[in-house]
Symmetry: C2
Subunit: 355 residues, 2 copies
């Protein structure tokens, strides 16, 4: 008996367009092989949506999103806005709004190295081997959503870094639950020696920790965490942190996985699950057909597992990625500079190999 | 003809006590050998000051600081406060207050690898070799100093991330001036795709950039910067960023220098210069006599150069550190796990070798 699911696909900007088509093809193939009925719709968001409608998250896309079971997203952003900080309407507003509207408060970012990519990282293999970290990044609070102000003379600008107890509590619980199924270690990252929001964060984690006496809790300052992550990634199991610190640490942690092009993420909360690569729109390589489709494919795998509970199907996708890597197929970003045994290929060739 | 200088020494907390005595001894030795007249005073700050006076920065220390030409500082912080986020009086308040009171708005953190330590890092030698980054971290603004609030029910906490145009301008100029004397590349790090304070930051950098057409300017998002720093550290020359992002990036960058125990920093602004290791009070190893004194010694070298203009003397100290490393002497944190040619020693033995 297959399952019936409605999936919204939002390719977004830049390489989002190229890579998301492969996540989609993988979902279609899984549906066909395992007799599930997935129906797909497409939505626009980001720069492409601003160009088409003036709005980075058109109402139509938002409605489709609310009516779907899960969303496969690509990437967002465009150099035009990065170069002109005075523009009022910006692609990223679409992503932030959909996160908020769908109540996607927990962003899961699993960082795990495929053995085949041990050499692709700038970090030494002996430091990396065996690393397996699961980040829980809070996704609908913090300085991302606090009030933004600009004085009339435009000379002063501010953003409010703010957390409420319930926001910390709910992400803490999710992280602790996950830690229980893993190596039973949780590291909470904050800057409690300077920030009041971090002191609240730490207080709440300390309280929730009492409900999970079987999990070992550690508190770490963000500056130290940014260092330890590179120095000794194996010391981490589950990491839970705020929106801004999570943004920084998970991008940094991409070096543990060999490349950003390998990392998928799941955002969950109220009901709909949202799946996306952690990489950005990468305008420097967009349209060239060289982007790594694996993060989008692995995002599809996360969707199968987390939103649909289809563990066998999810594992099947991950195994296909592993097999492809084992055979030496690589996109540019994960090519091994030291050996000549790799076959370097573009987005579509790589996607086809996995399929 | 020697110079006459008044130096305030503030060892602070934890390993600050152990390592700062070596920075001090180096300054005394330089004074003797080069016929300078340095007079030294000592001040308390941090947890030790709270214990003694109830105040993390006693008025007496602040007055001595204002009357000195330069300050050699150790470290700040204590596990007691880290474990209890509800405590009102905290060691770090002393450090933040002295930075503000002395107008130390520019924190310079040079990251340069001593060739002898190529193997001590978790990053591959071929990625590291030749890295040489100079960070300018803004030090008296940002979310560190914006208004902090806690609601009466204690369930909501906030810190204001705020920047004023003049704050960005003055640090930008310092960074551009330095870039001119180096490889003429400046990378400004922000999160302008999300934060209003970062959009102001980026606007001001773009304006100041026009005054330095000979310097190549690049803007990078903090998440990407945290990744690039590990992936390809050689791409950076001068990096300028805000207080919080600078805190995170420079700790992370310590892995480029092999160990945090190697990194010195200079904070400058209005008049007095303030010199400190970038490492913290490290309570886990405090009192054991195993901390690396080189960051304190290199902080003394920075003082000689930046505050006193004594370039020869400063170079003499750096050469002594290099020679010590070349002979294979190491503290634990920089020991090479792969060879047995190192002589591992404690704080005092290492300091004595440099002397
Ligand atoms: C595009 C940007 C708004 C976004 C963020 O900062 O959250 C991205 O960096 C991410 O991590 O998903
Ligand atoms: C101790 C702490 C307040 C301080 C900071 O965050 O500025 C430290 O981490 C530093 O980098 O000097």
């Amino acid at each position: 008996m297959g399952v019936e699911k409605k999936i919204l696909v939002i390719p977004g900007d830049g390489i989002g367009q190229e890579v998301t088509s492969w996540g989609l093809k993988v979902l279609k193939t899984i549906a066909a092989n395992y007799h599930h009925s997935f129906t797909f719709e497409e939505g626009i968001m980001g720069h492409v949506a601003i160009e088409a409608t003036g709005d980075p998250l058109p109402e139509e896309t938002l409605q489709k999103a609310k009516n779907s079971d899960a969303i496969l997203f690509g990437a967002i952003g465009h150099a035009k806005y990065d170069n002109d900080p005075t523009l009022k309407v910006r692609p990223e507003q679409g992503l932030l709004k959909i996160r908020k509207e769908l109540g996607l408060y927990a962003n899961l970012r699993p960082i795990k190295l495929f053995d085949e990519l041990l050499e692709a990282s700038s970090i030494k293999p002996e430091i990396l081997r065996g690393s397996d970290i699961l980040f829980f990044r809070e996704l609908t609070g913090d300085v991302y959503f606090g009030e933004k102000k600009r004085t009339e003379d435009r000379n002063t600008a501010s953003d409010l870094m703010i957390y409420h107890r319930y926001e910390v509590e709910r992400i803490a619980r999710k992280a602790y639950e996950a830690a229980r199924t893993r190596r039973k270690k949780l590291c909470s990252v904050d800057k409690a020696n300077v920030l009041e929001a971090s002191r609240l964060w730490r207080e709440v984690i300390q309280e929730v920790a009492k409900e999970y006496p079987d999990v070992e809790t550690e508190h770490m300052f963000i500056d130290n965490a940014a260092m330890q992550l590179i120095k000794d990634p194996k010391r981490f199991d589950v990491v839970v942190t705020g929106n801004l610190f999570g943004d920084i640490l998970t991008d940094e942690a991409s070096q543990i996985a060999g490349s950003m092009g390998m990392l998928a993420s799941a955002s969950v909360g109220d009901k709909v699950g949202f799946y996306e690569p952690i990489h950005g729109s990468a305008h420097d390589i967009a349209g060239k057909g060289i982007a790594n489709p694996l993060a989008s494919i692995l995002s599809a795998a996360l969707m199968l597992d987390i939103s649909f509970g289809l563990k066998t199907e999810s594992q099947r996708v991950i195994k296909a990625v592993e097999a492809t890597l084992r055979q030496g197929y690589r996109t540019m970003d994960i090519a091994n500079k030291h050996t000549e045994n790799d076959f370097i290929m573009g987005t579509d060739a790589m996607g086809a190999k996995v399929l």
